[in-house]
Structures are given as C-alpha cells and as structure tokens.
C-alpha cells in the first residue's frame, strides 16, 4: 500500500532524518502536479473574461494592436456608447424577460412533471420517461425549421412569448428528468405522512416536496435561465425586428462585414454576464446538502 510506505526525505536539521507520511498527505511531487494543474485551469478560465474586461475599457481603435498593452487610456466610453447610442438596453430587457419567464415556466413545468413521474404510476408513464430522454438526443438546430413553421401558423414568430415556448421545449424534458432524480431521493413516506395529515396531492408537492428539493430546484432554475440567456440560434431564427431582439442576437450587429467593434462588443459582453451572476448568487444559497436529514431513519 502506497499510503503506508515510509518516505525518505533529505531534511535539513531533523534529527531522525526521515518523516513518516500520513495517509492524507501528498508527496511533494503529487502536490506540485496538482497545484500546477489547478493553476493552468485557473489561467485558462480567467484570461478570456479578464481580457474582455480590459479590452472594454480601452478606446475602440486601440482594441487590436500588435503590442501587449494591459492598460491603455482606460475609460468607460464603450459602456456609455452601448448603453446610450445602441438598442442594447432594449435587447437587455428582452433577454431578461425571456430568461426570467423561461426560468419560471420551465421550473414549474419540469418540477410538476418530474414529481408526477417520480411519484405516480399512470398509463404512459414509461413512454413519458422515454420521450424526456429521447428528445434530448435531437440537436436544437434540427428543431429550428419545424418550430419556425409551427410558430408561423400560430403567429408566434417575432414574439418573446414564442421564444420562451421554444426554450421550454428543450429545457423542460431535461430538467424534468433531472428533478425526477432529485425527487426520488426524498422518502415517499414524507408524502404519505402529508396525505394522512390532510394535504391534497398538490399540497404535498407544494408544501413538503418543494421545500425539500430546493437544491435541485436551484440548479434547474440556473440551468433554465442560462439556456435562455445565452441562446443564439433560435433567437436569430425567430426574431426579426430590432425591438424584439435579445442580447445574443443584438450583439451580432457589432460585428460588421469588414470590421468588428471589439470595444463595444466586449463592453456589452461584460454587461451581459451581470444578470447571470446575480441569478447564480441568488440560487447558490440553496445549494446545500442534507435538507432531508432527520426526516426518516435508515
């Protein structure tokens, strides 16, 4: 057993001249490899947003240079421009509306559907589970044309409501599946105790299961929010007028045929991350383990 081996080290000033490594201690080499690996991962994930932040602060014509300049006349001009001279505030509002409604409706639908398949046995139960799984396997792009045709007939093109519905079609099956797994971990006796205590089936779901599923619901909420927040393909295909565009679509207008407005693009990009961060901060408080502890024994 490697954990039990005695490691001989050249240690200066120690009388024994060797140390016994405890079970939970790493060798220096392993420790170095681990920290080096983590450091690379850190750089890898931090550099792009930091670079975007720095670029957004530079004057627009200085965004692309051949020299590596970290600070170059930093100013908030790019932010002022995108917030006042473009449709960004409208797109921002559109995105918030679409993402918020996708989150709320998606959460409600997937939680109720997930609870139903977790707790009830009904005709078509198995088929429903299968359809949740199988629909995941189609790439979103395949659905653009059929959804476009359906929306055209229903008059849902170029409307935010249509976009919310489209996002829910992809998010709900996955989230229902995920939440079903979470609901399965909540002992069914708690539901039964609730039913005997006088709750209706919906009451059981709402007053007992939902509070206990907070971590699962938090993850689902964040996932559905992000699904809608960063999505480009559907939004590009279904939204046509400038007034209805979401951020992801709108930002593309900063990319011209011959020139990309990097300053505006990065400034808008930084602004776009803010709501996602806020949502994450709101839900992460619920990501706690052990909510059902103590309810049942064994």
């Amino acid at each position: 057993m490697s954990a039990e081996t005695v490691v001989h080290e050249v240690s200066v000033g120690e009388a024994s001249g060797k140390k016994v490594r405890r079970r939970d201690q790493r060798s220096p080499l392993a420790s170095f490899a681990l920290h080096f690996g983590l450091f690379i991962a850190l750089i890898w994930s931090l550099v792009p947003p930091i670079w975007a932040l720095l670029t957004s602060l530079k004057p627009n014509d200085r965004a692309i240079t051949t020299q590596l300049v970290v600070f170059d006349n930093p100013s908030m001009d790019n932010y002022k421009f995108v917030l006042t001279q473009t449709d960004l505030p409208t797109w921002f509002l559109n995105s918030v509306i679409v993402a918020a409604f996708t989150m709320l409706i998606g959460l409600f639908l997937s939680a109720t559907a997930g609870y139903a398949v977790s707790r009830f046995r009904f005709p078509g139960h198995k088929q429903l589970m299968w359809s949740f799984l199988v629909t995941q396997m189609f790439p979103m792009a395949i659905l653009i044309v059929p959804i476009y045709n359906i929306f055209a007939r229903l008059g849902l093109l170029n409307s935010l409501a249509g976009l919310v519905i489209a996002y829910c079609t992809t998010a709900v099956p996955f989230c229902a599946w995920m939440l079903k797994g979470y609901f399965d971990t909540i002992p069914i006796e708690i539901d039964e105790a609730g039913r005997i205590d006088g709750l209706t089936p919906f009451g059981t779901f709402w007053r007992l299961v939902m509070p206990l599923a907070r971590p699962g619901l938090a993850v689902t909420a964040f996932y559905t929010f992000l699904t809608a927040w960063g999505e480009v393909a559907y939004a590009t295909a279904f939204l046509t007028s400038d007034a209805k565009k979401t951020l992801a679509v709108g930002l593309q207008s900063f990319v011209g045929q011959f020139k990309t407005e990097w300053g505006y693009l990065t400034a808008a990009g930084i602004l776009v991350t803010i709501p996602a961060v806020i949502v994450f901060l709101l839900v992460q408080r619920n990501l706690v383990a052990g909510l059902t502890a103590g309810g049942t024994k064994g």
Partner: protein
C-alpha cells in the same frame, strides 16, 4: 373512537395475479389494540396501508366507525399513522411537525399550541419543541412521530413497525410506553410488527397473517395455547414449538422409540378423521426431565441464566432424526452428549392434521 372493520378486503398489486392481501376479515372493536403480525411479505403492512388509504382496495370494504371508507382519501378518514422510518417533515421544527395536521384543519392557533404542548408533555419532548428533527436522537424522533399522531386525536392510530429502528433496550421501554399511552387514550389502534414478542406483549388481540391470508386472530394467550394451525404454532413463541410428524398409536403417538400418551378426547378426534399420523406439537417449556419420557440426545445447550434451552434430537427407528428444543433448569443444565428423558405435559400437547395443517380439536 371507532370500530374498524375489514370486510373481505383484498389488494392485488398491479402486474401480479396473487393478492397481497386476500379477502381479509377483521372486526376491531372500539378502543382495541390489535396487532398484525407475520413474516415479511405476509401482507400486514399492506393491510395497514389499505386502512390508511395509501393503498387501493381491489375488493371488499373497509369501515371506520361504521362509515364505509373504501374509496375515501386518507385525509378524510380521521386516522393518524406512525411510520417505520418516522417520516417527519425535515424542514419543520418539532412543534410545526406535530401541529401540521391541525394547522391544515384550520384549528385556532391557541388550540394547536395547547394540544402540542400537552402531547409534548406526555412524550417528554417539551424542551425539544423548537428543534428540527435533524437535531434529535432516534428515540426522540420516534416520540415526535407518536406526538404527531396523538395531537390529531384521531379515530384510529395506525402504527407500522414504529419500534424497529430503535435499539433493543429503548424498544422494550417504548413498547411499554406505547401500550400504556394507548390504554390511557383509549383510541382504537392497529399496530404492525414482525416481532412476535411485540405482538404478544402489546396487543389486546393479535392477528397472524401469512401470504396475504389471515391465519388466526385471538388474544395472545389463546394464540399461544390454542394455535389454529401449524403456521401459527410455529410462528408464535420463542424458541418455536417443536412440530414433528409422528404415527398415531392406540394410546397416543409414537415419538422415536417412546410412546407418548395423548389426551383421549384429542386422540379420538384424530381417529374419527381417519388420520394415520399427525403433526405433534409441544413447546420447549411444556416438558419436564424425568423417567419414562422421550429419550433425547443433547447436541447443544444454550443457557440464558434463568433457563437453559437444550437443543437435541430424537432418534427415529430407521436411521432418521428429529431436532427438538426443550427447556431445562438453567442452574443444572444437561451437557452435550448426554441422553435425557423428557416428559411432555399432557395438557399442552397440540395435534395437527398433516394434510390440512389445521388443529385437531377435541
């Protein structure tokens, strides 16, 4: 306060052809403590869940207080249930757990507080009322589950193996407390257990189930002294009753090389059925060591202090053996290898028909 009746109640689980509970008939008078007992899979928990309304009823009826509740939702049945794993609401304090049903029933706050405080007092939970279940020990959680049931003041208590998660000592303690509490409240109680000691010590009457079929329902004493069939005889009592198929002879039965005389009335009853052999039963304690009994070769002795249980065998001519257990004085037990002579008390012999396994009654 209510009488509970199972009237040919059956439950067949989807995808199964064999009923989990097969035409169960039970009449539980108001205030009785009835224990459902049986090996795992016998349908005892299913029966209780049918009464609770958590399980559909595929045939027959269930009445609570003369009201047909066969198709009534659990919350309309006026029952309270204690679950095996307690099923407390983890996100609520003990007080909220106990008062939840009352709150749903829109009972005034002061009334809820009074009833919860009172139940907490009875169950010694007063100082834990503001805690969450997580911060309680197993025994305390069990009491909260009990408390949640008693504050309801329901017509019937349903208890599904409420003690099986407690350690041995606490179980014995709680057993007495539950029995006393039930006696004091006088609420009809249906209690499920697989532990025959619990059944014998707690129940006013005990119903023994096997494979979804009711075997016998009677007082613990009668169940012990007059088991209706071989299953009940073997299930009730620890160590189990010795049950050996033996040939009938003129005076009684032949056990190994010894003739054991059987009360005349029982013998003639067996003879009138035309039986050539019977399943002969006697309990380990219904024997005395003495001359002229059944010779038993001792294989092992288990001493519990007060008693010693002798595990031995009876040699049958022809080379086979029958295992038997008898009780002996714990202070002077026989030793392994000894041959002892056990006299079986005539009043406590049990004869069963080998084909139907039913008791041969005098």
């Amino acid at each position: 306060m209510a009488r509970v009746v199972f009237d040919n109640a059956s439950r067949i689980f989807p995808g199964s052809t064999k009923p989990a509970v097969d035409a169960l008939n039970l009449d539980i008078p108001d205030g009785e403590f009835l224990v459902l007992v049986g090996p795992s899979g016998c349908g005892k928990s299913t029966s209780l869940r049918m009464l609770a309304g958590l399980e559909d009823i595929d045939g027959g009826r269930i009445l609570i207080g003369d009201r047909d509740v066969t198709h009534v939702a659990p919350k309309e049945r006026d029952i309270a249930m204690v679950f095996q794993n307690y099923a407390l609401y983890p996100h609520m304090t003990v007080r909220e757990n106990m008062g939840f049903a009352l709150k749903l029933a829109k009972i005034p706050k002061e009334e809820i507080k009074r009833r919860v405080d009172e139940a907490a007092q009875i169950l010694d939970l007063t100082e834990y009322l503001e805690r969450k279940p997580k911060a309680l020990s197993g025994g305390q959680r069990q009491r909260v589950a009990m408390g949640r049931a008693i504050v309801r003041e329901p017509q019937v208590f349903l208890m599904d193996e409420p003690l099986s998660n407690l350690d041995a000592k606490l179980r014995v303690q709680t057993r007495t407390q539950i029995a006393q509490l039930q006696h004091r409240l006088g609420t009809t109680t249906v209690y499920v257990t697989h532990d025959q000691t619990e059944a014998m010590t707690m129940g006013d009457r005990v119903a023994v189930l096997k494979d979804g079929l009711l075997q016998q329902v009677d007082t613990p004493r009668n169940l012990y002294d007059h088991p209706d069939n071989v299953f009940v005889a073997g299930f009730i009592g620890s160590p189990a009753m010795n049950l050996i198929e033996v040939p009938l002879i003129a005076e009684g039965v032949r056990l190994g090389t010894a003739d054991v005389s059987v009360p005349r009335e029982v013998l003639s009853a067996a003879a009138s059925k035309g039986l050539k052999s019977v399943i002969f039963g006697f309990r380990p304690e219904d024997t005395t060591l003495g001359e002229g009994g059944v010779p038993i070769t001792v294989d092992a002795v288990e001493s519990t202090g007060s008693d010693a249980y002798v595990y031995g065998h009876v040699d049958i001519p022809g080379g086979t053996q029958h295992e038997v257990v008898i009780r002996a004085d714990g202070r002077i037990p026989p030793r392994a290898g000894d041959t002892i002579s056990a006299v079986i008390t005539e009043d406590h012999m049990h004869l069963f028909d080998p084909s139907s396994e039913q008791r041969v009654e005098a």
